[in-house]
């Protein structure tokens, strides 16, 4: 699968497996086999010990919300409906996004389409899940546990 289905802008990376796993329903991190440091988003290289021998591992997806916002003035990708623009065929109405802290302090960004902005509280427990959109793009949603 093209990495662009997640990233929107780039195809070429050593961690292309991330998008394939996401499409199969798993959010993956990488772990350095030498020093065991975990990386989300996944990295192909470990700057802690300067090795590049990494292992893939699914990460626990429940965590607490660190912060959030709801962007009403979106960037062009999300506002212009054109066939060549990824996401433009998907009606993501202004929708809250946030940062979730899951196991080992890893932080995941995701959309919260089903949670009312007024009911969002920093510190609340949420679960991150992969989501395949109708235009075959893949992303991450947060839902109540």
């Amino acid at each position: 699968m093209d990495f662009k289905n997640f990233s929107l802008n780039i195809s070429q990376t050593k961690v292309i497996r991330f998008v394939e796993e996401l499409a199969a329903g798993r959010i993956m991190a990488t772990i350095c086999k030498k020093c065991m440091k975990r990386y989300y988003p996944p990295q192909a290289d470990c700057p802690a010990c300067w090795e590049s021998d990494m292992e893939w591992k699914q990460i626990g997806s429940e965590g607490k919300l660190l912060t959030f916002t709801k962007i009403h003035v979106p960037p062009e990708h999300f506002v212009v409906r054109q066939p060549l623009m990824p996401f433009s065929s998907v009606q993501f109405e202004p929708c809250p996004i946030g940062i979730l802290e899951v196991e080992d302090g890893l932080r995941i960004m995701g959309w919260m389409p089903k949670i009312d902005l007024k009911k969002i509280r920093i510190g609340m427990k949420l679960k991150a899940s992969p989501q395949i959109l109708p235009d075959s793009k893949v992303t991450i949603l947060f839902e109540k546990v």
Binding site: F6, S7, L8, N9, I10, T13, P41, L66, T67, F68, T69, K70, I71, H72, V73, P74, P75, E76, H77, F78, V79, V80, F92, C95, P96, I97, G98, I99, R107, I108, M109, G110, W111, L117, I122, G123, T139, I140
Partner: protein, 385 residues
């Protein structure tokens, strides 16, 4: 170490400059800068050009546009970049040019021509200044990143939307007194609080402006500075620090590590502390950013930034006047020009040439310029003597 001073300042009119291209904006600023210093361009040894984005105005290799249009070739000129802190990176590079002995007189220019593209395109370009691979796919924008900082600050310290709006009211008040500012109108607290939401909780008047503009500085070595200027303004301290590309990975979401580390370095080099600063220009790309800057620069305790603006301590007659030129909020934020414009304001204030915005007899001024949502920050300290 060689002492370096600002000996010339030139500020172009900031705004929607649909009348001028990038190179034409630079010409205005450089002309004003040379006039202020009394020097001719042929007396300048070297030049540094600060431009943040390549995509706003189809300007890959912007430095060449500049040295060609003002007739500076074949002397040295190159472009530097540090997102919204580009102008301060240019100033630091100019300082390095002189301290290294490569040059005695250096022209530092900063420019951004942002309104050639649509607002949504400009929003996209700036949004990519975060992590374009891992965060941008969630529709992140610049206001979005600072909105997440604001929500975290409100939850941790009880900072309010009213306190953020008070920053906007102050900066618009002073922008109205600055002829180079993009927005020259005062606003009321009510108007700020009832403007439309850009990224919750930030509203229109919490956000700085998409602006075209250029600014130029002339730097000189100690010997040359004393010969050129009656009122040289000395660069006494410099600090630059960096942080993670993703906001998600920050140690704290309510403070910028890069600001704290850069400030520590600049204070140490200048041999001063926060209490010695007579006035400052800080990076108010959003109102919450000014509140966080008060805390990170040590102008108040952690979490007390909202109370500092509420007590009007950052007005002209307050304990520490901040952004009395209108700030990015009202003066506008042409990315590459902003850091240079900040240093121009401090120079005017230390020379005693700020007119009705003049701080009473200041001796030490500080600039604070942030790139992106804190991936880079620069703090510079300036002295009159």
């Amino acid at each position: 170490m060689e002492k370096v001073a600002i000996v010339g300042i030139g500020h172009g009119k900031f705004g929607v400059r649909s009348d001028a291209s990038l190179r034409e904006l630079i010409f205005e600023a450089v002309k004003a800068c040379l006039e202020d210093s009394g020097l001719a361009l042929k007396e300048v040894d070297s030049m540094v050009t600060g431009v943040a984005g390549d995509e706003f105005a189809f300007n890959v290799q912007p430095s060449a546009q500049v040295h060609d249009y003002i007739g500076f070739y074949p002397k040295p000129n190159f472009r530097v970049e540090g997102a919204c802190a580009t102008g301060s990176v240019a100033l630091r590079t100019g300082w390095m040019n002189i301290v290294s002995g490569l040059a005695d007189v250096v022209l530092v220019v900063g420019v951004e021509k942002m309104t050639e593209v649509s607002t949504s395109m400009a929003t996209e370009i700036m949004g990519r200044a975060g992590d374009a691979i891992w965060e941008y796919p969630f529709g992140t924008t610049f206001p979005g990143y600072y909105a997440m900082i604001a929500n975290a600050h409100m939850a941790e310290f009880g900072t309010t939307e009213e306190q953020m709006a008070m920053v906007a009211v102050k900066n618009h008040y002073y922008g109205n007194l600055n002829p180079f500012a993009h927005m020259q109108k005062e606003i009321t607290l009510d108007k700020a609080l009832t403007s439309f939401t850009v990224a919750y909780p930030l509203k229109l008047y919490d956000c700085s402006l998409i602006t075209d503009g250029a600014a130029a500085l002339l730097l000189a070595s100690e010997e040359r500075a004393k010969a050129i200027s009656k009122k040289p303004v000395w660069i006494a301290g410099l600090g630059l620090a960096t942080d993670t590309i993703r906001l998600s990975d920050r140690e704290k979401l309510t403070s910028l590590l890069a600001t704290r580390v850069a400030a520590k370095a600049a204070y140490k080099m200048a041999g001063v502390g926060p209490a010695d600063i007579d006035m400052a220009t800080v990076h108010d790309c959003f109102t919450i950013a000014e509140i966080v800057a008060y805390e990170d620069l040590g102008f108040c305790e952690r979490g007390e930034g909202g109370k500092l603006i509420e007590a009007k301590e950052t007005y002209l007659d307050g304990r520490i006047p901040v952004n009395v030129d209108g700030g990015l909020k009202a003066k506008g934020h042409p990315l590459g020009a902003t850091g240079v414009s900040m240093a121009i304001e401090i120079t005017k204030q230390l020379r005693g040439e700020a007119g009705e915005r003049q701080v009473k007899n200041p001796e030490i001024g500080l600039t604070h310029n942030v790139g992106g949502s804190g991936q880079i920050a620069l703090v510079h300290i300036f002295r009159r003597e």
